[in-house]
């Protein structure tokens, strides 16, 4: 080893750093869940539009998905946070920038919008894999388009896409770390802050890694429980 480095793992739990980490973890959890709710609702809505029979709906939703998928999340966040308030004109701009916790709200909404585009793709793929047969069978029993989507397609597609949705849920917690770049004091931010204070960033980031690991395992366990409860029997691959 080069420099003589003395490990100090206590930075993970001693005052005030332990407090910092816990606050950071709490914020990560909050952001993840709130953004996930936005992403689910918006994503299912946009995904259904992507599979709709009307060309205009498909076009609008496709533009949304392509824009949010092809721009890095960091750039999106910076756009909303730095450029966003300016869209509202000079007077409103200053009022918006003065809102405390603005970075937190921007991060949650930005994360929700970004993840929604990915959820929309999974929803579209789910519809596509159900195939024309179910669609036609439902219509031939006299249901309207909306009824068919609400009662048949959406519930069926949701169960089909539970595995990729699990991955997206995991990804949302990982992506929440990007919010640190606009100053949101979540887990990764805190581990960096501990380094600025103590120069023991290695221990702090290693600790943060385990936080995300545990979070990941919890998500996977919960989602696989949900998967078994809602499993469609006899479907290939499950």
């Amino acid at each position: 080893m080069g420099l003589a480095y003395k490990f100090d793992w206590s930075v993970l739990w001693r005052e005030p750093y332990g407090e910092w980490m816990l606050q950071g973890i709490w914020l990560t959890l909050q952001m993840g869940f709130l953004a996930w709710i936005i992403a689910l609702f918006l994503g299912i809505f946009v995904g259904t539009m992507r599979a709709a029979p009307w060309k205009l709906l498909r076009l609008v939703s496709t533009i949304y998905v392509e824009i949010f998928r092809n721009v890095p999340f960091l750039v999106q966040l910076f756009f909303w946070f730095y450029a966003g308030p300016m869209i509202f004109g000079k007077t409103l701009q200053f009022k918006i920038n003065a809102i405390s916790g603005l970075n937190y709200y921007v991060a949650v909404v930005g994360l929700g919008l970004y993840t929604a585009s990915r959820v929309a793709e999974h929803v579209r793929a789910g519809f596509a894999s159900i195939g024309q047969g179910q669609y036609q069978a439902a219509l031939s029993t006299g249901m309207s388009q909306w009824q068919m989507y609400w009662h048949i397609m959406i519930p069926h597609a949701l169960r089909l896409i539970l595995p990729p949705l699990t991955t997206e849920f995991l990804t949302i917690f990982k992506n929440s770390s990007v919010a640190m770049t606009i100053g949101v004091a979540e887990t990764t931010f805190m581990s960096y802050k501990i380094d600025s204070d103590t120069f023991h960033g290695l221990e702090a980031t290693t600790g943060a890694m385990f936080v995300y690991l545990v979070l990941g395992m919890a998500v996977v366990k919960t989602m696989s429980y949900i998967e078994t409860k809602f499993r469609i029997h006899g479907l290939v691959g499950r």
Partner: protein
Amino acid sequence: MFDAIINNLSYLLKGFLTNLELAICALAGGIFLGILVGLGRISKNRWVYHSVTLYVNFIRNIPLILVIFWFYFIMPILVGKPLNPFLSAAISFVVFEATYFGEIFRAGFQSISRDLVSAAYSTALTYTQTARYILVPIAIRRMLPSMITQSIITFQDTSLAYVIGLQELVRRTTIVDSMEVRSIQLYSFVAALFFVICFVGSRISRYYEMKSREANIL
């Protein structure tokens, strides 16, 4: 209307070049290491399989920013002096992306049906001949769309090297923005730049995938 962009164009574009360079290093290392990871994940040797699986599952659960920070903190300790941000970022990316490419390679290797291999064997081809003329060509053709998609993701991820101060496009944009305060212009420009490259790339991938499907290679 675009004056902020035009005045600083070469500064910004040089930053973009850094993103490209970082992406190329990340892809070269990530694909090479990824092949090893993929082979490790189908290995019959228990030590190899379990250690590689542990590595893959660990990395895939943690955010890339954290990996970037971690290497940024540990490299000076290991090497004895602070490392330049590009090298540190490159190493982080290689270690990170190799797990994703590894999964692509694993799926590619496993996707060849047993009967296709049996058909080759039944014409008396040896294992090496079967691998060389049948397995590897088909596996590569199958994995190409996923590899292109993952490469696009990697390219987008290079923006995260911002956090260790690398002079890439996003970092330079924030610097220009702090002087010119033309945020809407500047960040739209960055977004558009990434958008064009990633959109074109994903179209290429989709076109290739469609062609492969028609030829029954997928």
